[in-house]
């Protein structure tokens, strides 16, 4: 197991290298540069600025300089946010974005699996149709539509919750977390329902019934684990997407997370900031997938790697 984990972590390096290369090239291919604005800068000032950020060097030179910096975890200064390094900016955004992302994921997992299992056990009844109908809505309505509706109802009319802002209080987290988790909850519910139905019709559940075990025990001990496996493998990419995909939510609820830096950085051609955020997301996705694989192996004896071979 340890050996396998080490191999997986080493595999992270080439993936990241590829990610950095592609992102680096794409940023430079995009028209415009960090110092373009409505007001033209005097040519010698622009030349000075370019020299400061090494933008006057050839592309390969810049590329290898950047790689060298990343290797020692130095992501350079932000071009747009003067006096801030990229590392400082990201370090500021991470706690907020990951709190929202992880809280939303937890909510989606607990709620989604519960609803999915309930629907599966009441398959083809009204409760099932109702749950799955609502689930379909949850998947198909984009969150930039849901968010204003929730704000209108719960913040503006009812006045129970703040309409936006972030003060690390529970009240300010509720709306963004709920909005972010809704589509994922619905997706997990559908995924769980489908796999639970399949498992309940499998031969080993029939065997368990023939053994005279009560239905509740059969569900808990025999059906739950295989039914949740597809959900577990979905969790890795989904969590990463939630931490990074909260861009829209952070915008709507004016939350100082990573998302705003990503968008602002891309619009302003803040090369270093965008590269920093991209690398963070890349690492997050790879690490989360790795963690999910570990959990998966722990749940499914057939893919454990420590068998003496």
């Amino acid at each position: 197991m340890a050996r396998h984990s080490l191999q997986r972590l080493l595999g992270l390096i080439p993936t990241l290298l590829m990610l950095i290369t592609v992102a680096f090239l794409l940023m430079r291919v995009a028209p415009g540069g960090p110092f373009d604005s409505d007001k033209l800068l005097p040519p010698d000032i622009e030349a000075n600025l370019n020299a400061k950020y090494h933008l006057d060097e050839s592309l390969p030179q810049q590329y290898f300089r950047y790689l060298g910096q990343v290797a020692v975890l130095d992501f350079g200064p932000s071009i747009q946010y003067k006096d801030w390094t990229v590392r400082e900016l990201i370090a500021q955004g991470i706690p907020v974005s990951s709190t929202i992302g992880l809280a939303a994921m937890l909510l989606a997992f607990v709620l989604g699996t519960t609803l999915g299992i309930t629907a599966a056990l009441k398959q083809n009844t009204r409760a099932d149709y109702l749950l799955m109908g609502v689930g379909m809505l949850g998947i198909s309505i984009p969150n930039f539509v849901i968010a204003p509706i929730l704000i209108l109802l719960l913040a503006v009319y009812a006045g129970w919750l703040p309409a936006g802002g972030w003060d690390w209080g529970i009240a300010s987290m509720v709306l963004p977390v709920v909005t972010l988790s809704l589509p994922v909850t619905a997706y997990i519910a559908r995924l769980t329902r489908a796999s639970m139905i399949e498992v309940m019709h499998s031969n080993f559940i029939r065997s368990a019934r023939a053994k005279g075990l009560p239905e509740s025990l059969i569900i808990r001990r025999h059906a739950l684990r295989p039914a949740l496996l597809p959900v577990i493998s979905f969790l890795g990419p989904a969590t990463a997407a939630m931490i990074s995909g909260s861009v829209v939510i952070e915008r709507i609820f004016s939350i100082p997370g990573l998302g705003s830096y990503f968008v602002q950085g891309a619009l302003n051609r803040d090369y270093t900031l965008v590269m920093g955020v991209v690398i963070f997301y890349g690492v997050a996705i790879i690490v989360l997938n790795f963690l999910v694989d570990l959990v998966y192996a722990w749940l499914n004896p057939r893919v454990r790697y420590d068998q003496n071979r």
Partner: protein
């Protein structure tokens, strides 16, 4: 002396399935009984209703299935019971071994856990006690190193070994009745023989009655006391192994026996297949259901033949051999 009371008595069992095309009549007016310690074979081709008969007895029919009739186990009608009531019998007094050992064990749980739970649930024994019992049964089905097997997962075993585990699991609570649904169908021939021997040996030791569902007439001869031949959801012939094998009364039974290769026939004898296909279970014909495939059918077969009984309790459903 009176014959001992039957352990299980099935009366007028009907099993049907609702499908979009209509109702499938899987089992029709089936009657049979089995005595304590006896071994009864249900023989017939695919779709003859053998498996669904067993599923109905244990209340394991698919959701679109329904049943009528009675299945009296020690006088109690299993078909009328709710699932919690049935659960007192399932696994403890009536155990079932399924056809496919590769998928019938839970791949996510250790074999030991899957065995121990039966004993703990039905006999309320402590875990350590249940473990002892499980290892003892694994040893009885001759699994090498049962202690180790107890801690292993199903995927670490071959099909034959898994079926041994299933047999051990079925016999954990020393059931009075074991229903084995084609226990050897998915296995290699040599392994089939081993499992058959194993079941025959365990039966002698524990006096468990067995209903063996199979289409393998060789397995039947080695293991069973009585045979019931089924066709299109009906019993067409029922008798002792000797009666059915050496003096088959029903043309379908004769056809089945002729289609099996045998060493005691001349080398150049061709195997005979029964012409045609079993009837459509959605729309069963009137009269004898084997009529369209029967080489000896005649006018009277348009009426449904009654079950005839010879003096030595050999039953068959055919007008041929009718004394009249």
């Amino acid at each position: 002396m009176d014959a001992p009371a039957p352990l299980l008595e099935v009366k007028d069992l009907d099993v049907g399935f609702d499908t979009p095309e209509g109702e499938v009549h899987a089992v029709n007016r089936l009657n049979f009984s089995i005595k304590p310690g006896e071994t009864l074979a249900l023989v017939g081709e695919s779709g003859s209703g053998k498996t669904q008969t067993a599923m109905a007895i244990l209340g394991l029919l698919a959701e679109n299935g329904h049943m009528r009739g009675q299945a009296l186990f020690k006088g109690q009608d299993l078909l009328k019971m709710t699932t919690p009531e049935l659960n007192r019998y399932r696994g403890s007094e009536i155990a079932m071994i399924f056809q496919d050992p590769m998928t019938s064990l839970n791949p996510y749980l250790r074999i030991g856990k899957q065995m121990v739970e039966v004993v703990m649930h039905h006999q309320g024994r402590a875990k350590a006690d249940a473990r002892t019992r499980a290892v003892e049964m694994l040893r009885a089905v001759r699994i090498p190193d049962p202690e180790r097997c107890f801690r292993q997962y199903p995927h670490e075993f071959s099909g034959g070994m898994r079926q041994r585990v299933m047999v051990a699991m079925g016999l954990l609570c020393a059931p009075d009745l074991l229903i084995a649904d084609e226990p050897t169908a998915a296995l290699d021939v040599t392994v089939q023989v081993q499992i058959t021997h194993l079941m025959s040996e365990l039966r002698k030791r524990s006096n468990t009655a067995i209903i063996l569902i199979t289409h393998d007439l060789g397995v039947v001869a080695g293991l069973c006391d009585r045979v019931m031949v089924m066709y299109a959801g009906e019993a067409v012939e029922c008798g002792s192994v000797e009666q059915v094998y050496y003096d088959p009364k029903h043309p379908y039974t004769q056809g089945l026996l002729d289609s099996v290769p045998r060493l005691d026939r001349p080398e150049d004898t061709d195997l005979v297949a029964i012409a045609g296909n079993p009837p459509n279970l959605l729309a069963l014909p009137e009269g004898c259901k084997f009529r369209d495939r029967c080489p000896r059918a005649f006018e009277a077969c348009r009426e449904k033949p009654p079950m005839q009984l010879t003096e030595d309790r050999h039953a068959y459903r055919c007008f041929l051999g009718d004394p009249k």
